[in-house]
């Protein structure tokens, strides 16, 4: 996964600064239960700034779509309040919220042409005919479907339908646009292309977007900030780079990107760092103390594959060795699956610089900096 970190960091800094001063959308102590027994969303507190692109990312059943539906007005919060532009919106019906939405399967009206689909939100707002025509054409031009107004949705490809849905959600100039896994039905190439298009449209018109997906690369590509959902709780809300590089708990570390884990017990705490004794007597590892508190606690260490060095030593004494179980040639890099300290799924990415000439079964010398190892909850 390659991300243009520089640009993302810049963008995210800007939003973090906005964030505290004024929140455009505010979830306050939101609980949601359908049956009175299980909480689908637990104590959700979330602030979204104006113009921000926030993604709710999580596995299915984690409560992200429910949260989106509460914002759109199709579900009511069991507890708490949602504020839009500082006004509570729980009592406002969906048709008065002025929130655009792109549905999972687009929900284009099959009996209307593309232009009629786009005119619909304008007609119900009693906008004059010439204005409607102009706005519809503008919206269609925006998604590069200027000549498709007279077609019916069934006559369009999946990607084109997606764009029409997007144009329809934007044509009435809503305060906020929600997208519920809008790219889920597209094939991989088209999905990536649409990710950029949606991102560019967002950059161009500067509308606030709340996006739901279970695809982490989609979230990382498009968002200013990502809220990682699991089990009805936001695990971490942060910019893509921080989420990837500094996960705060083991769920986020596992869910975002590839991650190597080693289990152990905390033996020594020293300020922001700690020393962990690996289970099975494989030695001690120095790591950053992130989600552990005291000596004797069980912990899971998290190391990104690309932060493991081969055939080098570090001063941190995090020097280990691993047996190559499997080598997969991937062109730009070689993916090596190793047996390290009892973990047979330990992945290392070796850049293809032409100097790697080990075979399966060889022992490799491994090392990593203690700043790249994060001691998280187990």
């Amino acid at each position: 996964m390659t991300i243009c970190f520089h640009a993302v960091i810049q963008a995210s800094l800007q939003y973090i600064m906005n964030d505290t001063s004024q929140s455009f959308v505010k979830f306050e102590k939101i609980d949601k239960s359908y049956d009175g027994e299980v909480l689908v969303v637990k104590n959700l507190n979330l602030d979204i700034a104006k113009g921000e692109f926030v993604t709710m990312l999580g596995p299915s059943g984690s409560g992200k779509t429910t949260t989106l539906m509460m914002l759109a007005g199709f579900e009511t919060p069991t507890n708490g309040e949602i504020f839009l532009d500082t006004k509570p919106i729980s009592k406002i019906p969906p048709y008065e919220r002025e929130i655009g939405m792109v549905f999972q399967n687009y929900a284009l009206f099959p009996h209307m042409t593309v232009a009629e689909n786009l005119s619909f939100p304008l007609e119900v707002r009693k906008i004059s005919k010439p204005d409607i025509k102009e706005k519809v054409q503008k919206a269609l031009d925006m998604v590069e479907l200027g000549n498709f107004g007279t077609r019916f949705p069934a006559q369009l490809s999946g990607g084109q339908q997606q764009r029409v849905a997007l144009a329809r959600a934007l044509v009435f100039e809503p305060r906020l646009v929600l997208m519920d896994e809008p790219l889920g039905a597209l094939d991989k190439n088209l999905r990536e292309q649409m990710q950029y298009e949606i991102k560019h449209i967002h950059d161009r018109i500067g509308i606030t977007v709340v996006y739901v997906t279970h695809d982490q690369s989609e979230a990382l590509t498009m968002s200013n900030r990502i809220a990682v959902f699991n089990d009805g709780v936001v695990q971490q809300l942060s910019t893509p780079d921080i989420l990837y590089e500094k996960p705060e708990n083991s769920f986020v570390a596992k869910f975002i990107g590839e991650n190597n884990t080693l289990n152990g017990v905390v033996r020594e705490v020293n300020g922001s760092s700690c020393t962990v004794e690996l289970d099975g007597g494989f030695g001690m590892v120095k790591a950053l103390k992130i989600n552990v508190n005291e000596v004797g606690e069980k912990t899971q260490l998290s190391i990104r594959p690309e932060r493991v060095s081969i055939d080098k030593t570090t001063s941190d004494s995090n020097n280990f060795s691993g047996k190559i179980e499997e080598l997969i040639y991937l062109g730009d890099h070689i993916r090596a699956r190793l047996d390290v300290c009892g973990n047979k799924e330990f992945i290392v990415k070796v850049p293809n610089e032409g100097s790697f000439n080990h075979k399966e079964g060889d022992e490799l010398k491994l090392s990593w900096n203690s700043e790249d190892v994060r001691a998280l909850d187990l």
């Binding site: 759109a72 007005g73 199709f74 019906p93 969906p94 048709y95 008065e96 919220r97 002025e98 929130i99 655009g100 939405m101 549905f103 999972q104 399967n105 929900a107 009206f109 099959p110 009996h111 619909f120 939100p121 119900v124 707002r125 329809r168 009435f172």
Partner: protein, 425 residues
Amino acid sequence: MEVTISTAELLTTDGIPLKQSLRKAERRNKLRAFLLVFPLLLFIIVTFVMPIGDMLLRSVDDSQINSVFPNTFEEYKNWDKGADELPPEEVYKSLFFELANGDKRQIGKALTRMNYAKSGWKSLIKKTTREIKKIVKKGEEPVSYKDTFIKINKFWGDPTYWYSFNQMVNDRSSIYYWNALDRTFDEDGDVVLQDEKRRMYIKTWLRTFKVSVYVTIFCLILGFPVAHLLANLPLRYSNLLMIFVLLPFWTSLLVRTTAWIVMLQQNGVINGILVWLGVISDDGRIQMVYNEAGTLIAMTQILLPFMILPLYSVMRVIPKSHMRAAQNLGAKPAMAFWRVYLPQTIPGISAGGLLVFVLAIGYFITPELVGGKDGKLIGSWIAYHLKTTLNWGLCAALGGILLGIMLIFYWLYNKIVGIDNIKLG
């Protein structure tokens, strides 16, 4: 790369024309497909196409009487009605011999037909035949056949009887169709209305239409919410509800119809409950059956599943997100329903509507049983003429008109909605 497009016929590798080769390869498949549908095709031809064709022919057929009185009709055509009050002598003479020598059963059939044209023919001919046979037995040859006839019965001097021959002299006749519309021919062969007391079909046709339209509308009003509920409830509830819809469907039509009699009659369940509740007094019991109301109630209930099922099959596949999307775009629920949901149910509405209407217009048993005198539909007349009067020509004409109406509706429907839009399940 350049592509050369050849205008010559395409050939296979072996040099045989491609189309010919393809035909050969496909022949076996086509033959197999044909053999598979052949039994059904045969069945449809024998049990459906042929009977309907036969009935339609019958509705215009008038050849029987022409085969009984060929010479009489031939001579009759020479009669100049402007010049002579009565037909010429030759007509009487031909009739004399054809009555004397004709087959008794064939004449009997012809008499029935003649009676449709003018009542009185039957007894007149019967009496006359008896007298003619006596004359023939004696071996006398009448001097004037005309005078002999008039001597036997004075009606033979009444030109109106002879005028009625006019509508029988051709092998093909449209008289049954005109009869089915309360019309007949006058002495000049022009179409005129029947006598007031003999007009009953137009009234029945109109009632049939009215009842069919009402039943279709009632079924739509009652069926739409049920179908919507069926399509949107969780599966276990909708299955239960579906059984409630289908259970009457599986019950015998006769049982359901008689059940309605039990419910609706003056001493029936509904009246009983209303009296018990004090809504109506004991002498104020409402007449709900053996009239048009009874027909409407029973037919609506019986035909309801035919509306619900096509509607349900259409509604089931309308994604729930459409109503949400419409509201999200700013439409109030009523507007969302009207602009987004309803148009998508049109295939179901039209399929159900057409089905119910077509079934209702030809309905017979229920109106016959609960309709009483003023709730009878055209189907009752068809059955009456089929079984009681044996006037199969009129019967076929009524059926033919019914078929024509349905085809017109089908054509109209295709023009307005498009037949591809129909969806039965």
